[in-house]
Structure formats: C-alpha cells, structure tokens
Homo-oligomer: 261 residues x 3
C-alpha cells in the first residue's frame, strides 16, 4: 500500500519526466561511458539524439581526465577483462572524488561468476543507480526479482534499482514505481538496455534525485519505443526510428502516453 | 553430374530451409560470437532479428563460461591479435568438449600471412562449417575456388565449405548446391558476411546436418536481401531493411524465391 | 584577399570535387583505418557506399601487411592506449616507406593531455591532412582556430588542415577555401567526422593534391548531408540516409549545391 503522498508523486511523475527531458536538452551533459564495443555506437547515438555528449575511452592513461571532465559516468560490464577492470577502478575512483553520479549496468552477470563477483564489489563503491534485468538481479542479489526483494536490496545498498522487464520497476529505499511503456522490439535491438543506462547517467547529471531520474529515463525510452514501433517495419528500421523518436519527443506526448503504476 | 537422389534433395532444399527458419525462431539458440568490433553490432542485431541470443565477450576469464552455456559458436578472424588468439583457443576447446558446433569465418586471410597460418590450424580443430569468399579460399587451400576444388577440400577436411560469391556454393564431402539469391548491396554493408556466419552458427544449433544448415542460411539471407533491396534507397537504408526482412521472412516467400541449382 | 588565379580555382572546385567523386568510384581504393570501436562500423559503411574497401585491424602482427597493401591510411586517435600507439607507429612507418598518403584525425585531443602530446608527435611524421574541429585545433596548435592562424599552421607544418565547423575551412600553405554545405544533424550522429576523415584518406588515394582532395570530401559529405536531411525524420534515419545519399550522389547535384567561398 502506498501512502497518499506517494500517490500524489506517482501522478506527478510524467510531468517530472518531461521536466527532466527539457533540462537534459538544455544542459547537454557530458557522459563518459565504459561500455562494450557491441553497444558503443548505438549508445553514443542515443546520447547525441538527446543532446548529451558521449565519450568512451577506456585507456588507463586518460580515463581519469575524461571522467573528471564529465557530468556523469556509466559503468557497463558488457565486456569484462583486466584492461576494463583497471579502467572501471580509475573511473569509479575519479567519479567518487569529483562527486559525479554513476550508473552500474551489470550486463550478463548471470552468465559468468567472475563478472558477478566484480559487480558485487562495485555495488559497494556507491553507484547512484543499478540497472539490470531479473536474471542479472538474481545473480547479484541471490534472490528472485520480486518488487519487495528489489526494494529491500535498494534500501540495504542505499541506491536506486531500475529493473527492466515487461513492466519496469524502480525502487530506492523509500519509493517505488512500476512503468508499463515500451515495445517488444526493444528487446530485439542490441544495446537498447545499455543505451538506456547511458541515458540514465545523463539524467543523473541534471536531476540529483536518482529515483526520479531513473523513472524519467524509463518513461522517455518506453514512450519513444512505442512511437518508433508505429513508424517501423521490424527491428532494423525500429533501431533508427527510436533515435528519431527520442530526438523529436515532446513533453506533452510523454505525459499523455506515460503509464505509471 | 548429380545422382537422382541428389536431384530430389535439391528441389527439397527450399522447404528444408523454411523448416530450419521455423525451428530457429522457436528454439531461440544462444550463439557465442568471437568477432571483430566492426561487425559486432550488426551481427548481434541480425541474430536478435532471427530470435537467437548473441553473446560476444572475448575475455579469457569468462569466455569458457559463455561458450559452455551457448548452443553454437562463431569464430571470426576479422581481428587477429594475441588476446583473440587466446580467446579462440579457449572457445574452440570448450566447444569440442561440449560437442558444440562451430563456424570458422577466416576474414581477410588473403591479406596477412599470420592470419592465414592461424586459420589453417583452426581447420584442423573440427569446425562444422568454413564460410569464406574466393580470395580467402585461395589463401587457405592454395588452389582456385572452383566447385570441384572446393568439394575436394571439404571432403579432405571433413567439413562443409560455404563459399560466398555472386552465386554461393555449399559443399561437404558428398553433396553440393549452388544458390543464386542475393543483391549487390549486400557487399556494400560491412559485416554482412560476418553476420551470415553467425546465423550459420545459429542454424547449426537447430540442424545437425551442417550442409543443410549452411544452404538454409544462404537462402534465408539471400532472399531477405532481395526483399530488403526492394524497400531501400541505397546501402544505408538497406542495412536496416535486411534486418526487417529477416525478422518478417515467412517460409512461403522463402520457398517461392529460393534459387537452388 | 585572394589572387585572381585563386578566384578561378574556387569557382572550379565543385567540378574538381565531382571529378574526384567519379575517380573514387572507378578506382575503389583500399583504405586502412586505425579508428576507435565507436566509429568502425559507420566508417566502414561510408567507405563501402563510396566504392572504397575498408580494413581496420590494429594488431601489431599484421598491420604492416594491411597498410602495405592499402592505397591510403587513416589515423584516428579516438581511442588512445599502448596497443593503438604501437599500431599507429607501425602503420605510419609503413605508410612513409610505401609513400602512402595518410590523414590524422586527432579526436578529443582537447580532453586529455597525453593524447595531445601524441598527436603533436604525429604531426611531425608527415600526414598529408589533419582534420579537426576548433577545440582540437586549439589543443594542438596552441592558438585559436581563426582562418589566418590555421593557414599559418598549415604552412609551417607542410600539410593541409581541414577544419570542420558550421563553415568548414581548408588550408594548405598557399590556398584556402571555406565550404558552407552540411546540416546540423551531422553533429548528432557519432563518427560522422571520423567517417569524413576516412573518406578524406580515400580521396587522397585518387587525388595527389591533398588540398583539393580535402575540399572535395567536405563538399561531398556536406551535400550528401543536405540531401539526407530532406529524407529523414531525425538523426537515426539520417545516419542511414546519408549513406544512401553518398551512394547515389551524382556530379551534377554536387556542383549545383556546392557552396564554396
């Protein structure tokens, strides 16, 4: 059961998302993304469509300079090796020192134990948001991704969990929201989740409340997905159309279409 | 000259391809792809469009876990360095132990001798299929890619050779087929061949007869290319349209358009 | 002030560009690209659309063979680490020995000092063209990117500078041109500049005058961008449409639309 205040907030979330969208375009934050090579191009184009500026180096010699000059950081574990582990360590340290918000996307931690172990370490280093799906949550938290479990995990680790699925679910220690926008073709385009995590980092740069920022991203991406699907013939044209839809999305459409529970 | 039985089989190949297409979508195999960073995104999207699930890590620390949990493996030599050689060695060893079928795509072996030497080693380790073009075949086999030479090579090495060209040619020790579908723009989109090899691996996961699986992939991709070209203005829109076409391809269209000789 | 001869040349530049475009398609040069993984796919597709053949390995074991067999080289500093530095060193040495023209694209040298230092070293090794934006020029040259400063820098370093911006500017020691084609969405697609640099390298393979080749590329890309924008709904569809536009661009359209000052 939700308290009345929380109910009020839920009905306001679409407007809050529209406001965050406007700020994102106005402020054009720099987002440094440590992500896998599969996802880099699409992630960069999604950020550029929203007005943000991506950078993506993982070189140990310069990543501190890039992160230090950025407004937010994404750590995506889509590739996991010694080089990237070093890059992540430097990046997270730099983000902490610069009080930069960062998002952890523990891609495929359900597939390889060393990756899961590294993700657990990173959780202890203060990400503002963890974005993942049910299988990845299970590998990380050791329990099923039910709403109550997710909320407890968020509370214990003092972060926001953004759980993607048919219905997305976002929880921090005290608040939660279920979001029902989106389209099945979003799961047919590689890096859609990774790009969403990068966009989440971009939103953190313009909205300090990580829960609100995460809700906003899922609404923005979900509504853009619905608009894009109506203009596409399959997942190939959809991948381009969702970038167009993000670029053209206006606050009114976002508010009208948002499905918050 | 083909024996009557072989003639019968040739006329049945389009139906067989349609059946493999249906199984692919139903079983949604996991395909681990060791491929170059140029090809990763397009390859992943082609697999996702067909219902398969791609993974792409080359980290030596976790590639065994990924390959061990997959249904088929692609080894693409599009980038060749110490790190990838280690990844390939572990992946092929894991595939052998797990009796997983794998496809070798010896990209550009005609351009650099060390790459050709490594490809020759890999041929000895039991790939189900080798997919390549005429120049790559020459570098690997030391002879021109005439149908008879290709068939002999396939017989000697106990594998299926899928030779791409204006007319594709698929041979194992006892059977051969020439396939005339496709469109010139397929050569204008980077990673089209690499994605085809990944799709070949996916088909091996649902069809044990490697020759049939390879014929099916070439028919599926060639027909999708023809459909896509009719909906495109150039190679840019074509790259998206062929993913749409693969996603929407039905067995009837495949059978009607297939050109098997 | 321009001399009369220079005026004459400026009015001829669109025709010269059309001629270079035709030669590019006819000769289909091989271009080896050392570029970052974000840019590889789009860069390869832009080259293929224009009839050129890209290769992209950075493996130290084979890069000399690839560069040695190519017609031009691109060195893009979009990622900067020990592995790529070695690759660049070998590639530049091979290019010098083979008298191959090469283009330097010092991406983001304004963001990290070690990258800027490496770029300065490379300037001394004889690139035919340096392509960059105003911020990158400042980091490299230590002065604002005004036309006079850029021209002096080009003269001092005996190369062509292609400076991208709202109006592009191309200068070598004795000639300069301002080019006003293009569309704002070109800045919303990642790797657009990198792909332009690769295309510049391709043009050097068919036109020895680096200044003319660089002017031609900026006109070709700018006009293609305008055509593409008219057929797009946002930066997602635009990324595909500009590849179509490059593929379909004819000399007459190029000459009619070119804006040379």
């Amino acid at each position: 059961m939700r308290a009345p205040q929380s109910d009020l907030l839920h009905s306001e979330l679409p407007s809050i998302a529209a406001d965050i969208l406007a700020r994102l375009r106005q402020r054009a934050p720099r987002v440094h993304c440590i992500t896998n090579s599969v996802a880099q191009n699409f992630t960069a184009n999604v950020l550029l469509a929203m007005g943000a500026t991506p950078s993506m180096t993982i070189s140990r010699e310069e990543i501190a300079a890039f992160v230090g000059g950025a407004d937010a950081l994404l750590v995506n574990l889509g590739t996991f090796d010694a080089e990237r582990r070093v890059a992540v360590d430097i990046a997270v340290k730099t983000a902490s020192e610069s009080r930069l918000p960062w998002v952890l996307d523990p891609v495929f931690v359900d597939r390889a134990p060393p990756r899961a172990a590294f993700a657990k370490e990173l959780i202890g280093k203060g990400p503002a948001v963890v974005r993942l799906n049910a299988r990845e949550f299970f590998a990380l938290a050791g329990g099923e991704a039910k709403n109550a479990t997710v909320a407890v995990y968020a509370l214990e680790h003092k972060l926001t969990v953004a759980l993607s699925g048919e219905t997305d679910f976002v929880a921090d220690g005290s608040r939660q929201a279920s979001l029902a926008n989106g389209h099945p073709w979003m799961a047919r385009v590689t890096a859609m989740g990774c790009a969403g995590s990068a966009l989440n980092a971009a939103c953190l740069a313009v909205e300090k409340d990580a829960w609100r920022a995460s809700v906003a991203v899922l609404l923005i991406l979900g509504v853009a997905g619905e608009v894009a699907a109506a203009n596409s013939k399959g997942p190939g044209s959809f991948a381009a159309a969702i970038i167009d839809a993000l670029f053209n999305l206006d606050g009114v459409t976002l508010i009208q279409r948002a499905k918050v529970k």
